[in-house]
């Protein structure tokens, strides 16, 4: 039986143009720009200086505090400078610029593509390895993985869910990874299970990826420790709370974490990165990025070094079409539109979607006709029309009472609104104001 989450959800056209495209390896570019903040939490602190020689896989910036992540060089070469650079969100942030010379890797990395199944490290060593290797959640939120793997005292985790949902239209990087690195993902899952001390893991995959479901089912074997759950296609099933609800029926209470219902969720790509770090000693220096769009001549899935400019990926996919108007880092529902193609690939970049004229136009918005479609699609059971009105009128107190902070910013309301109202834009505005208000109150 196909499972899904019960509240809300939409069905945008899937447009998985690259589902059949094998992962291609993109050679290192001439130079890379590696931001020191590619994760949630404090930016890492650079440990190299201008002129230093670095190897691929060498630590170049160290995690600053517990919620932070190490950054490694993705190429071998010379540090050109440490300067500010525009990142995906359009802000300037510190980045390490490296000129590429050859392709030499640090010697500790185990070469060879044979899957290593035996897990030798202890749970503590696994967590330490994730910290050392700069592993972060690769689904997009980029939360440092070592933090998630340390279950705080007093909490109990009984289930690991591997998120292979990929509910965003267009994106196929997780799909391809599950197909081509299934063995590694299964082993990665067992490594995470060992670190967490859980007996059971479920891999959640939407039903539009039948091939991945049957492959993973076969690879998981008959141990019963890992099972694969096919899910009905519905956006935003990849949202952590929606996925937990769909798979287990457990509902993460408002303002709480998955761990409060005994669950930890990790992305399928993260499981692969954990495998690489623990079994192969390889830090997170490359990732699979789907480069897609209806007007691209060669859309595909590329294994690319972190820090590679987006322009190199677009070139590989056939170059930017003349009528391109928008490039999105991530999927079209939650991704960020980037301002120029010199933005570097970062750990959290799952895809690049190129839109041409008409595909992504924002129309002039009209009055709310109270059709209540926004309410019926909201996966959190909120009233987007009301939250927008309250935010417009600066009634943040009331917006807080109507649980604006529960919003997961999935964009289903703005997607469905027949009057093209910018619901989520205003909800974001109100949400940040309410969060600020709450923080100020708790400080008093």
């Amino acid at each position: 039986m196909l499972k899904t989450f019960p509240t809300g959800g939409v069905h945008p056209p899937e447009n998985k143009l690259t589902a059949g495209c094998k992962i291609e390896i993109l050679p290192p570019p001439k130079s890379v720009v590696i931001p020191v903040s590619q994760h949630l939490g404090a930016p890492a602190v650079p440990v190299v200086n201008k002129g230093d020689k670095v190897l691929a896989g060498q630590l170049i910036a160290k995690a600053a505090g517990f919620i932070s992540a190490n950054i490694h060089s993705s190429v071998s070469g010379k540090v050109l400078k440490i300067d500010s650079h525009t990142d995906t969100s359009g802000y300037k942030q510190t980045a390490i610029f490296i000129d590429v010379e050859g392709d030499e890797w640090v010697p500790e990395i185990v070469n060879g593509s044979d899957p290593v199944k035996e897990i030798k490290l202890s749970p503590e060593e696994i967590v330490q390895k994730c910290l050392d290797s700069g592993i972060v959640g690769l689904g997009g939120a980029t939360f440092p993985t070592h933090v998630k793997l340390k279950v705080p005292a007093g909490k109990k985790c009984d289930l690991l869910i591997i998120n292979g949902v990929e509910c965003e239209p267009f994106l196929t990087s997780d799909h391809r990874l599950m197909l081509e690195k299934g063995e590694e993902i299964i082993t990665g899952t067992r490594i995470i299970m060992k670190a967490l001390g859980v007996e059971k893991a479920v891999i959640g995959v939407e039903n539009n990826k039948q091939d991945a479901i049957s492959l993973l089912e076969r690879l998981a074997g008959k141990n019963g420790d890992i099972s694969v759950q096919a899910l009905k296609v519905k956006y935003p099933q990849g949202g952590e709370k929606q996925l937990i609800k769909a798979v287990t029926g457990r509902e993460v209470p408002s303002g709480k974490l998955p761990l409060d219902v005994g669950v930890i969720v990790q992305n399928a790509g993260t499981a692969y990165a954990v495998y690489e770090a623990v079994q192969k000693n390889k830090p997170l220096v490359e990732r699979v990025v789907t480069v897609t769009g209806k007007t691209l001549s060669r859309p595909g899935n590329y294994l690319v070094r972190i820090g590679t400019p987006v322009s190199a990926l677009i070139e590989a996919a056939g170059g930017l079409p003349d009528n391109a108007v928008k490039i999105i880092s991530g999927g079209p529902m939650m991704g960020k539109a980037i301002g120029n193609t010199q933005v570097p690939v970062v750990k959290g970049m799952s895809g690049l979607v190129v839109f041409s004229g008409g595909e992504t136009e924002r129309k002039q918005y009209g009055p709310c006709i109270r059709c209540s479609k926004c309410i019926s699609v909201c996966p959190m059971g909120l009233e987007p029309y009301l939250l927008m009105a309250l935010s417009q009128k600066v009634l943040y107190e009331k917006a807080g009472e109507n649980r604006i902070t529960d919003c997961i910013e999935c964009g289903s309301c703005s997607f469905i609104c027949p009057a093209y109202r910018p619901l989520l834009d205003y909800i974001r505005l109100g949400k940040s104001a309410v969060v600020k208000m709450k923080r100020e109150k708790s400080m008093k």
Partner: protein
């Protein structure tokens, strides 16, 4: 290559539906009933519909352009829907000037005076209809009997509606079994062979429209089903208690404005509640009020009043009835 890339917040895609398409969907759903009206009432149905739609659109245009001096939004189709619904709610021999007056009240008072689309508390077409019913009680209750194109617009043969016959008969001491011989049988009622407002008679055609709107996801089932079920249960209980004084539930469902009201009038987006739970309460309220007015009130029919009364409760319901929140089982501590 274009020199600039656009930057905006997510989501970057939008569903195909917009306000205009939804309104067009409602118009398409009204077509079967419109065809039935023309079949039963001939020229009258055509003249009333054209007059009402044209007047509504012209009034909306004039008010937006010359009075409010703002943007004109007649292309969104909402004025056309109001015009069609007003036409559906009046007899097919209503004089043109009265229709135009009704359109003025619908659009001017019912809709634009509150701020236009999305802001009116009461269904504009029903505001116009009830205004006419109270102002022109004779013209508004002179019902042509179905005779197609055999008679003209002004010289239509008129008669009482089934509900009127029942109300009058009961007052004169007749019983339901006797009266049932004077009204069309249930199958005729289902196809619409009876006197009544132009668009309300053909239950079968209206139900086709409902199926289309549900299929296109223009409306949900909650409001029409709750109205129909409530009326069926309420009149069913009365009928079981005393079948000589109370007509059977099917008769009540197929006569008057129940189908038109439940499918097209009560489901008006702007004036109906936002949350499924509230929609059910709203629908049940309309059902109960309709039966109370029909059976215990002075008028033979009460759907319009019932909907307008429940419209008044919608803001209250929107404020207090909230959707089921995800993650509501918050345990403190």
């Amino acid at each position: 290559m274009s020199n600039y890339l656009k930057v905006s917040l997510s989501p970057h895609i939008h569903s195909k539906d917009d306000t205009g398409k939804l309104m067009k969907g409602v118009i398409i759903a009204l077509i079967p009933a419109l065809i039935a009206s023309v079949y039963y009432f001939g020229w009258g149905a055509i003249i009333v519909t054209l007059t009402s739609v044209a007047a509504c659109v012209v009034f909306e245009y004039a008010i937006q352009k010359y009075l409010l001096k703002g943007p004109v939004t007649i292309t969104d189709g909402s004025a056309v829907v109001t015009g069609l619904l007003l036409a559906f709610n009046v007899p097919s021999n209503l004089p043109v000037l009265i229709i135009i007056l009704g359109a003025l009240v619908s659009i001017g008072i019912g809709k634009m005076s509150f701020g236009g689309l999305g802001n009116n508390p009461f269904n504009p077409a029903l505001v116009g209809r009830v205004f006419l019913l109270i102002s022109f009680p004779v013209q508004m209750t002179t019902w042509p009997v179905p005779s197609g194109f055999k008679t003209g617009y002004a010289d239509a043969v008129t008669g009482a509606t089934p509900l009127g016959i029942i109300k009058e008969g009961l007052r004169n001491g007749e019983t339901i079994p006797q009266l049932m011989n004077q009204v069309p049988d249930h199958m005729q009622l289902f196809y619409g062979y009876m006197g009544g407002s132009m668009g309300e008679v053909a239950a079968a055609a209206l139900i086709l429209g409902l199926i289309y709107m549900l299929f296109r996801k223009i409306i949900t089932w909650h409001i029409p089903v709750s109205i129909i079920v409530t009326i069926a249960i309420f009149t069913g209980i009365l009928w079981l208690i005393n079948p000589s004084q109370y007509a059977d539930p099917l008769f009540h469902l197929l006569t008057g404005g129940v189908m038109l009201g439940a499918i097209f009038m009560a489901t008006d987006y702007v004036t109906s509640p936002m949350v499924p739970k509230a929609m059910l309460i709203y629908g049940a309220g309309i059902g109960i009020l309709t039966v109370v007015i029909r059976i215990f009130g002075a008028y033979p029919e009460g759907v319009s009043f019932a909907i307008l009364i429940m419209n008044a409760f919608v803001p209250l319901m929107n404020a207090y009835i909230k959707p089921g929140r995800f993650g509501k089982e918050v345990k403190n501590g």
